[in-house]
């Protein structure tokens, strides 16, 4: 059964194959959630809540084509909530060890993909100074490789605002990379 068929079945009120839809949707939802909040457990919680929200409201989506956009939007809103909750936590400090590690990887001596922990550490270090909107646009555009149209649909921002946020994010991160990467 394809993803489209699964969504159509659930939209029609048949939740027999909902567990299959969880298996299909969870990885891409987790990817965005994890990159946004930088913590595996929190990201898993967000995915769980997203899946429950999907189960409750899937009948209301316009079409099966709009499913992914809709899921991304739910995930992103939950990430914003999570970021707001952890706003008062002490700032993440860019330590020398992480930069050295990143330098080693970038220099080509170690080309294997990062594990979750390293990935979260590096992303948090790079996006720490960004606003939630800038962070969301940066992750969706640069890391998840989405088009501006898709981002506009997910975040509800205009393309101009997306471009502005992306410009600031790139400038900020690029500056950090130039400054700290050896």
């Amino acid at each position: 059964m394809t993803e489209y068929q699964l969504i159509e079945e659930c939209r029609g009120g048949n939740f027999e194959n909902f567990s299959k839809l969880i298996h299909v949707s969870a990885p891409f939802a987790f990817s965005v959630a994890f990159r946004m909040v930088g913590d595996e457990d929190n990201a898993k919680d967000i995915v769980q809540e997203t899946m429950v929200a999907i189960w409750q409201k899937i009948g209301k989506i316009r079409s099966a084509e709009a499913y992914r956009t809709w899921v991304y939007r739910i995930v992103l809103n939950k990430c914003y909530d999570q970021l707001r909750r952890t706003k008062n936590n002490p700032e993440f400090s860019a330590d020398e060890k992480t930069w050295n590690h990143l330098s080693e990887i970038v220099s080509g001596s170690n080309s294997t993909p990062l594990d979750n922990e390293d990935s979260a550490r590096i992303l948090s270090m790079l996006t720490n100074r960004l606003s939630p909107n800038q962070k969301a646009v940066f992750i969706l555009s640069e890391i998840e490789a989405m088009s501006h149209d898709e981002i506009a649909e997910i975040t509800g921002m205009s393309k101009t605002i997306i471009k502005a946020n992306l410009y600031h994010a790139r400038k900020n991160i690029s500056g950090m990379v130039e400054k700290y990467l050896k």
């Binding site: 567990s19 969880i22 298996h23 969870a26 990885p27 987790f30 990817s31 994890f34 990159r35 595996e40 990201a43 898993k44 995915v47 769980q48 899946m51 429950v52 189960w55 409750q56 990143l102 990887i105 970038v106 993909p113 990062l114 594990d115 979750n116 390293d118 990935s119 979260a120 590096i122 992303l123 790079l126 640069e142 890391i143 998840e144 490789a145 410009y167 790139r170 991160i173 690029s174 990379v177 130039e178 990467l181």
Partner: protein
């Protein structure tokens, strides 16, 4: 954006290729299903409580009985209101009637006085009176007329000092002539 350095591009490429690993989705699925069933249970129990408390209103005969009872109650209310209104109107009319009766029965008090006076203050019972009813009525009417005329005359005299003076002089003369006699 062409201003990014080679290092920036490498970092982004690395992060893009390092897709986060969710691990087994079975645990996640189990947890999601547990949450869903919990919420379902919560919803079902809330529904059953509401149904237990108010579900009986959907039973046909109770529904019809409630409608009939409400119609009866409205009818009783309207009937009660109309009775109250009628009573109020009746009482209103009674007030006017009792005033008229008071005026009408005033001569009867005077009648007693008259009878008392006629017997030199001795008084006698109503059974001793042998005068026809219409005659007594006529007498009382003329007596009340006389009383009112007298009142008006006194009022007139009091309002006009000259007339009063003249009458006082006349009465003085009358007294003097009586004493001379």
């Amino acid at each position: 954006m062409g201003t990014e350095s080679e290092n920036y591009r490498k970092v982004i490429k690395l992060l893009r290729e390092s897709t986060p690993e969710l691990g087994s989705t079975d645990n996640l699925e189990r947890e999601v299903m547990r949450l869903i069933s919990e919420r379902n249970r919560g919803r079902i129990s809330a529904d059953s409580v509401i149904n237990f408390l108010f579900g009986w209103v959907y039973i046909g005969w109770i529904r019809r009985s409630l409608i009939a009872a409400s119609v009866i109650l409205v009818g009783v209310f309207v009937w009660q209101q109309s009775i109250i209104l009628r009573q109020l109107n009746f009482l209103n009319n009674r007030i006017v009637v009792s005033e008229i009766e008071n005026v009408k029965y005033q001569p009867r008090i005077n009648e007693k006085k008259l009878l008392m006076m006629g017997r030199g203050g001795r008084g006698f019972s109503e059974s001793e009176v042998k005068i026809p009813e219409d005659k007594i009525e006529q007498l009382l009417d003329s007596y009340s007329k006389l009383q009112s005329d007298y009142g008006e005359l006194v009022k007139l005299i009091n309002e006009d000092p000259e007339l009063r003076k003249l009458i006082e002089e006349k009465s003085q003369q009358k007294k003097l002539s009586k004493t001379k006699l």
